[in-house]
Amino acid sequence: MNVIVCVKQIPDPALPGELDADNTLKRDGKLILDESDSYGVEMALQLVTAAGGGAVSLVSMAPNEEVSGLRTALAMGAEKAVLVSDPSLAGADALTTAKVLAGAVGKAGDYDLVIAGTESSDGYTGTVPEQIAEVLGLPSVTFAKSIAVDGDTVKVERQTEAGYDEVTCPLPAVVSVTAGVVEPRYPSFKGIMAAKSKPVENVTAADLGIESVSWAQSITAVEDAPAREAGEIIEDDGETFNKIVEYLDNLKVI
């Protein structure tokens, strides 16, 4: 069984981010594997192991032929990657990204299943996996909290607000996974040492047959979220609890 995982390489969320002139996130430094994609990589590795054979391949779109994040996923056990790196794609919107990744999936070889994270930790559009499915003409299942493959179908427990739905869907399909799907492994030392010699195919938009790239979306302005308003300070005079009770009563929470 072959699984393709869409992974995003993002600026380290632990560092203060900066914006480019077009109000998109600056991505010219080292990029790391988006944590929300490490769940998909782990799920794919487990499905391939359970199937008794096959490979996990990665597809990613990032500037400057950046591979740091891909190396992490390769160290975990993925076999190879297709990386789309093209200056014309800087600031691409969600649909363009989906078209590019769908093209990259076509380059990554035969597959039974495509896995993606529910949403990236930097863009948060949460629409790319479904758009990839549409571009590829495949069924899409979202918010998977568990995935099992049974012959030509995939069984998914789909997280909902109230609990979960059981969904069965024919393969191939695109499934987006939540952070609860599996616990990602640490890469082993051997995996880390092997990662640098695993193949990463660098391609451009033109290589994928995407000739003219343009999108209608632009970010016109970025503003800070409003600061939290200062709370009300009550000096404790020994009877303060009455004021707290009154306050909570007014909110109708007690």
Binding site: S68, R71, Y186, P187, S188, F189, K190, I192, A195, K196
Partner: protein
């Protein structure tokens, strides 16, 4: 090398993440709860495939030794060993040591004695059967090993004043004696017991023999952990042997006349052990410095962060000098080993002497920067100060390192 490369950084970050998630939250119970470190160490090994790597290396070594044995038996010339250092990246062992020491140097001691010293005693001098019987499980941490040489009256002068004995009795040996300060002693499954063969001759003329014992053998008693100043996550104990009977299959090498390995063998062991202590010192110094920088920025006295005071700045600057020096020594060791160049005895001893002293100095200054807080167990610098002291004592005291440096220089 002057910095970790991308691959080494990836290893460091992964190990650090594991240790901060799995070991750091258990610092209290490891420090003050007598919780043995072995399950956590095994988890570390399994997580990063260190057990499988040890197994692969072991199988390769044994396959080679068997091919040599077969060739000798058939009267052929034995095959040549592949270069010892081929594919050997010492950073793979150094990084976990450095990272563990940021939280729990005792775990490195427990790990090093088990998979390092104890397994090496069997791997360097044992028969193939003995290696397969005991060493593999030690290398993978499936079993815990102890290396029992020190006695109440014999420390740095280990062999001169050793009292533990083996006496021949028919086909067997009868072992007696007590050992102390034995790392992993309370929990060890496999014990390397070093003693002198008593043939009625004067003690100074007796042969030194090493036996492999299993926990639970009749006449063998393992004490509870001893209370000690630091390294609480490394259980240390006493061993008492009262007429423990063993066959020759437990005598390492199965012969009383084992070639000693000479100066080269001892030097190789010293170098590995002493470079390990330098890596430990680097982890402890790095952590102490990080904690101090953070504290110097946050702690306000006389209306300003204490980092603004020049006397505190002096301490931080000295710590950074120590960190850089020890890091350079560790990087140098990694690079020379990777190139197949071994350190001289003077170099290995100098590296250990300097690193241990630097760690102690940095740790005490860290306590000083933290002031009253630093004296409290709640703050980690208190632990680092207690743990650092032993670096100047075990694996050869500072005084012994000095004599080794001088003797090696004067011998040339």
């Amino acid at each position: 090398m002057y910095a970790w490369n991308d691959e080494q950084l990836m290893i460091r970050d992964a190990v650090r993440e594991f240790i901060e998630a799995e070991i750091a939250p258990k610092r209290e119970e490891l420090e003050f709860g007598d919780t043995p470190p072995y399950d956590l160490l095994r988890k570390l090994f399994a997580t990063f495939g260190m057990d499988q790597m040890a197994r692969d290396r072991f199988e390769k070594t044994i396959a080679f030794e068997k091919s040599v044995e077969a060739a000798v038996a058939a009267g052929d010339s034995p095959p040549e060993r592949e270069s010892r250092n081929e594919g050997n990246d010492p950073s793979l062992s150094m990084i976990p040591i450095i990272e563990l020491c940021r939280y729990s140097p005792g775990m490195v001691t427990a790990m090093g004695v088990s998979m390092g010293l104890s397994s090496a005693a069997i791997m360097s001098k044992g028969t193939i059967a003995q290696k397969e019987r005991w060493a593999l499980d030690l290398l993978t941490l499936d079993k815990i090993g102890a290396w029992a040489i020190t006695e109440p009256n014999s420390g740095s002068d280990a062999f001169g004043s050793m009292k533990a004995t083996a006496r021949r009795d028919g086909d067997e040996y009868v072992l007696n004696g007590s050992k102390t300060f034995i790392t992993n002693g309370p929990y060890a499954d496999t014990i390397i017991f070093i003693c002198k063969l008593d043939e009625g001759n004067p003690p100074e003329e007796r042969k030194v023999l090493s036996f492999v014992l299993d926990s639970g053998m009749p006449g063998l008693e393992q004490s509870k952990p001893l209370r000690k100043m630091g390294m609480h996550s490394s259980p240390t104990g006493e061993l008492f042997l009262d007429d423990v009977r063993v066959g020759i299959d437990r005598l390492i090498g199965e012969t009383e006349d084992l070639p000693s390995g000479g100066r080269d063998g001892a030097k190789a062991t010293f170098t590995i052990e002493r470079s390990g202590v330098a890596a430990m010192a680097l982890g402890m110094i790095g952590k102490a410095l990080e904690l101090c920088i953070e504290y110097a920025k946050e702690r306000v006295q006389f209306g300003q962060p204490i980092g603004e005071f020049q006397l505190i700045q002096d301490k931080l600057a000295r710590m950074e000098v120590a960190r850089l020096n020890v890091e350079n020594l560790v990087f140098r060791y990694i690079e020379t080993t990777r190139d197949g160049v071994s350190l001289t005895l003077a170099e290995a001893s100098a590296m250990k002497l300097y690193s241990a002293r630097a760690a102690m100095e940095v740790a005490l200054e860290a306590v000083q920067i933290f002031g009253g807080n630093g004296y409290m167990s709640e703050f980690q610098v208190e632990q680092i100060a207690r743990d650092a002291k032993v670096l100047q004592i075990y694996a050869g005291t500072d005084e012994l390192q000095i004599t080794h440096i001088a003797k090696d220089l004067l011998r040339r």
